[in-house]
């Protein structure tokens, strides 16, 4: 044993909480409570950082390479093999840049906004269940904690936009505030469905429920997953919904005036949030560390991180595929599509929970039946919505861009109307 002061199975990598417990037990043996408190905090922060810092660098590289492939170019490929050192070069560049402050701006608020922006971004990782027993702080209201902390971002974005004393910054900030308020509602309402079904607000509890019933929640509530994923993606300010920093409209939105490390704090907070949302989706809807028995052979935290990266890749995919929406389209989408769907979801889930528990039906029959019903309902509702309100069918008077892109939606019209 190379480290005789560590007790227990700390070398067992299938459950890293053994290691942290052994370390904590060692520190606890010194007999000083304050030191043990600080050590407990430090272990948690260091463990989160051990995931976040390499992920930040890796994810930036992955995103630039993948987006490059989407746009039929190579992406970063000069610094190091396959451009792997590009994020490090970028980090160095950003730290050496001058950090400008607009003279007419609000100096203290301008300075504080990017720093405060990181508090919710990192804070939400406290409740992420990396594996069985591997949540840093297994709060029994973890889900609410996640939602509450991530809603704080709005204020800091607004602080940044306001204090810059720049009209484009303020436009960007106002757009973020309006968008966040709209998308917060479907997010909360869909997560309500999850806690209704599992009877738990703790993220570990939700994952444990999925492991107990051998099912991923996405199979039971596909509609909730779709609504949640779209709404939370919109809150990240990434491309399908990046109206807050739309460079073709408002320069760079709320961080127009930021440069150097302050800008890169916003940039990093955005990636941190994206990873956190991917983690939440993986935990709540895709079983977290549970993978139908695979978790007995592969460490659960590796499965979880694998799922997390998969959902981050989907985010990149969306960014590479979809164009940016207009402000009014985004708002209409939240209020007219996501909110009604999430309300229907809560209603249906509540009814199902009532039927299930009041009648004492067995889970083996009930859950597959619910899965089939909910999937059918989801397909039917989304299809009906697309037929009734969708944009893909031209109505009378619509311009049809046949000659440009060879696309003839609906009844063909000749060329461009009123065209030259």
């Amino acid at each position: 044993m190379p480290f005789p002061f560590l007790k227990g199975a700390w070398y067992n990598i299938s459950d890293l909480s053994n290691l942290s417990r052994a370390l904590l037990g060692w520190v606890d043996g010194w007999g000083n409570d304050t030191v043990a408190y600080i050590a407990a905090g430090l272990i948690g922060v260091l463990a989160t950082m051990a995931f976040l810092v390499p992920s930040q660098l890796g994810v930036v590289w992955i995103e630039r390479r993948v987006i490059g492939r989407f746009q039929i170019r190579r992406g970063p490929n000069r610094v190091g093999p396959y451009g792997l050192l590009q994020p490090i070069a970028d980090a160095l560049k950003v730290m050496l840049k001058e950090a400008l402050t607009p003279p007419a701006g609000d100096k203290w608020v301008f300075w504080a906004a990017p720093i405060l922006m990181f508090i919710p971004a990192i804070g939400v990782y406290a409740v992420i269940p990396w594996g069985k027993n591997m949540a840093m702080a297994d709060l029994n209201i973890g889900l609410l904690y996640f939602v509450a902390l991530s809603s704080l971002t709005t204020i800091f974005v607004f602080m940044a936009g306001w204090s810059s004393n720049n009209k484009y910054s303020l436009f960007g900030a106002m757009r973020v505030v309006a968008m966040m308020i709209s998308y917060e509602v479907p997010v909360v309402v869909t997560l309500l469905g999850v806690s209704l079904f599992t009877g738990s607000l703790s993220l570990s509890g939700i994952v444990q429920w999925q492991a107990d019933y051998h099912v991923w929640l996405v199979l039971l509530q596909p509609m909730a997953f779709i609504v949640y994923y779209i709404a939370s993606t919109a809150e990240l300010n990434r491309t399908p919904a990046d109206i807050a920093e739309a460079e073709s409209e408002i320069v760079a939105g709320y961080h127009t005036e930021y440069s150097g490390m302050k800008f890169s704090l916003f940039y990093a907070a955005e990636y941190t949030n994206a990873l956190a949302i991917s983690a939440l989706v993986a935990a709540v809807y895709f079983g977290g560390w549970y993978m139908w028995g695979l978790e007995q052979w592969v460490p659960g935290w590796l499965i979880f991180i694998g799922k997390l990266y998969f959902f981050f890749l989907v985010l990149i995919w969306l960014r590479g595929t979809l164009p940016r929406l207009r402000v009014d389209q985004l708002m209409a989408f939240a209020w007219k599509f996501l909110l009604p769907l999430s309300l229907v979801n809560v209603f249906v889930v509540g009814l199902e929970v009532l039927l299930w528990h009041e009648n004492g039906w067995s889970a083996g029959v009930t859950l597959p039946a619910f899965a089939v019903v909910n999937l059918a309902l989801t397909v039917a509702l989304v299809y009906t919505y697309a037929r009734a309100f969708g944009y893909d069918r031209p109505r009378a008077g619509d311009i049809v861009l046949r000659s440009e892109i060879g696309f003839v939606p609906g009844p063909a019209t000749e060329g461009l109307p009123g065209g030259t």
């Binding site: 409570d33 304050t34 408190y37 609000d106 608020v109 709060l139 029994n140 209201i141 609410l144 904690y145 939602v147 509450a148 902390l149 809603s151 704080l152 709005t154 204020i155 607004f158 602080m159 306001w162 106002m174 505030v177 966040m180 308020i181 917060e184 607000l201």
Partner: protein
């Protein structure tokens, strides 16, 4: 529960709440005052945590820090001269008098009421208990509040709707 940490946390959060609340009144810049208000809300959330009322703390962050403050900021954006010095107020003296009177009443009440103390440990999980209390014992007030909020929302929509729509 009476460790040093919890006492320090209580005093830090109490100082944060009261100090920020004072700043809300004292600051001339309305936007700074709104930010101080947010800090005061966050301090209240911290105080709830020290009382092991975790659900209430998160609710405080979600509703007050996350939503109400955004509403305040929206209202600020519609206020002329919000970012510059707040205009002179003719109501400083009467408002101060009213505030002092209210504070006197509250302090008198706090000091003189025989508060029932509940001994023992706090609840492990408050969310489920709160939910049961709201939908079981207090279901009528709960429903009345929902109807009131719905009426307020519909009223707001009716008020801002243009004639042509």
């Amino acid at each position: 529960m009476d460790g040093t940490g919890i006492v320090i946390a209580f005093w830090v959060f109490a100082a944060m709440t009261v100090g920020a609340a004072l700043l809300v009144v004292a600051l001339r810049n309305l936007f700074h005052a709104a930010l101080a208000l947010i800090v005061a809300f966050a301090g209240m959330a911290g105080l709830f945590v020290t009382l092991s009322a975790d659900f209430l703390a998160v609710g405080q962050v979600l509703i007050y820090v996350g939503a109400i403050s955004i509403l305040v900021i929206f209202a600020l954006m519609l206020t002329p001269l919000a970012g510059r010095h707040n205009g002179e107020s003719r109501y400083a003296l009467p408002a101060g008098g009213a505030a002092a009177g209210l504070a006197a009443v509250v302090i008198y009440a706090v000091l003189n009421v025989d508060w029932p103390l509940r001994g023992g440990e706090g609840f492990d999980e408050t969310a489920a208990l709160l939910g049961e209390a709201l939908l079981d014992t207090w279901v009528l007030p709960f429903e009345v509040v929902s109807v009131l909020l719905l009426a307020a929302m519909i009223g707001a929509i009716v008020l801002v709707r243009g004639d042509g729509e």
